[in-house]
């Protein structure tokens, strides 16, 4: 059955932190690493508005997702030194666990994991020349938990976390990520279940970099325009360096979804820079 829904959303931790003390705490630590960024420190009112705007964007995505009545949600995200360390960095990883759990401040997350779909993707990859890493245990982190809090607050359906290495060098090319998306679409096409897919991360930000605090809004708007025009495949010609320069390496997660949906036009986009570190982006493709 063809994919029934495709989504993309930022996973910045401050989306889910409460405006006020939690944001202030987060910013205190952030600005201790990047004192130059504190000039734009958002006020409480700005924090509240960002939260409201993000909730409104997530509400659109959640409505699109629920209307598609999926049986499973594939979540394409990156690790950030939670499950993977320098002893083994998988370029692409598929979770073949029975269940997955995680914690974000006071929010707990616990989902069934769609093990069979995961194995089918790994097997299909081996036949097509994409050798995924895979494993039976991962801990969900903010890269999944932040969007899932808004999009799948009740664990009504299983999820399937798929990881892309976006955070350490060397990372896969946008073209390779697109190919992974094509492979996932083929597996979904062969499935009797209704498969939805979500990419998380981005947009422009520079975590752990001396450029932390910069947001390349121009580049982000260009990406969103390309997605609205249904020309996502044109992005395969970007290099990792192109994305890195704009602080958009987590867009590699989005490239997997773009590979899965082909030339479908985004039906909804929203964008809001958070004044702290990240351009928050939200996209839905009604398929």
């Amino acid at each position: 059955m063809p994919l029934v829904s495709a989504l993309a959303a930022s996973h910045a931790p401050n989306i889910l932190l409460e405006p006020g003390r939690e944001w202030e705490d987060f910013m205190d630590l952030h600005y201790s690493m990047a004192p130059h960024g504190s000039a734009n420190r958002p006020t409480l009112e700005q924090q509240k508005k960002l939260r409201r705007d993000a909730e409104a964007a997530f509400a659109v995505l959640r409505d699109d997702l629920e209307r598609a009545k999926p049986d499973v949600l594939i979540v394409v995200a990156n690790d950030q030194f939670v499950n993977f360390f320098w002893n083994n960095i998988p370029t692409f990883f598929v979770t073949v666990a029975d269940e997955v759990k995680g914690q974000f401040t006071r929010h707990s997350f616990h989902y069934r994991n769609h093990k069979e779909l995961g194995k089918n993707i790994v097997r299909a990859g081996m036949e097509k020349g994409i050798d995924f890493s895979y494993g039976e245990h991962v801990e969900l982190q903010h890269t999944q938990n932040v969007p899932l809090h808004f999009l799948l607050p009740e664990p009504k359906i299983p999820i399937l976390p798929v990881y892309v290495n976006t955070w350490v060098d060397p990372a896969p090319s946008p073209r390779r990520c697109y190919m992974v998306g094509e492979l996932i679409r083929a597996v979904a096409d062969d499935s009797k279940e209704r498969v939805a897919i979500l990419a998380t991360g981005g947009l422009s930000h520079f975590p752990g970099s001396p450029r932390i605090g910069e947001i390349d809004e121009t580049f982000d708007h260009k990406l969103l325009e390309v997605m609205r025009d249904g020309k996502g495949k044109s992005l395969v010609d970007y290099s990792v360096q192109d994305l890195l320069q704009a602080g958009d390496t987590e867009f590699l997660n989005w490239m997997v979804v773009i590979g899965a949906i082909g030339d479908a036009k985004a039906t909804y986009t929203a964008y809001m820079p958070d004044f702290v570190a990240t351009g928050w982006g939200f996209v839905s493709w009604k398929l």
């Binding site: 932190l17 987060f26 360390f85 320098w86 995680g102 974000f104 955070w167 975590p207 970099s209």
Partner: protein, 81 residues
């Protein structure tokens, strides 16, 4: 030159509660459990992420040294991963 062991200690400060608690008690002893150079130990003692970055540590891991600093020990950041 690899900074694997230095990176590992920083990773453990966030991900391994036992290592973190031991580090609060006696960071010198914990550093002794890792294969670190004198320069790396000095950078850790300084608690300055920029010095750790200069030694080749990934920026995300550099941040974790802040968890030992009194003003950041209760920071909300450590309550999520």
């Amino acid at each position: 030159m690899s900074c694997y062991h230095l990176s590992r200690l920083l990773f453990d400060l966030k991900m391994n509660e036992s290592i973190y608690q031991r580090s609060l008690q006696d960071f010198e002893k914990v550093m002794g459990d890792y294969d670190l150079t004198a320069e790396e130990k000095d950078a850790l003692r300084a608690g300055d992420p920029r010095k750790l970055r200069q030694l080749g540590v990934h920026g995300m891991l550099c941040l974790y040294i802040k968890r030992l600093q009194p003003q950041f020990r209760e920071n909300i950041y450590w309550m999520q991963k």
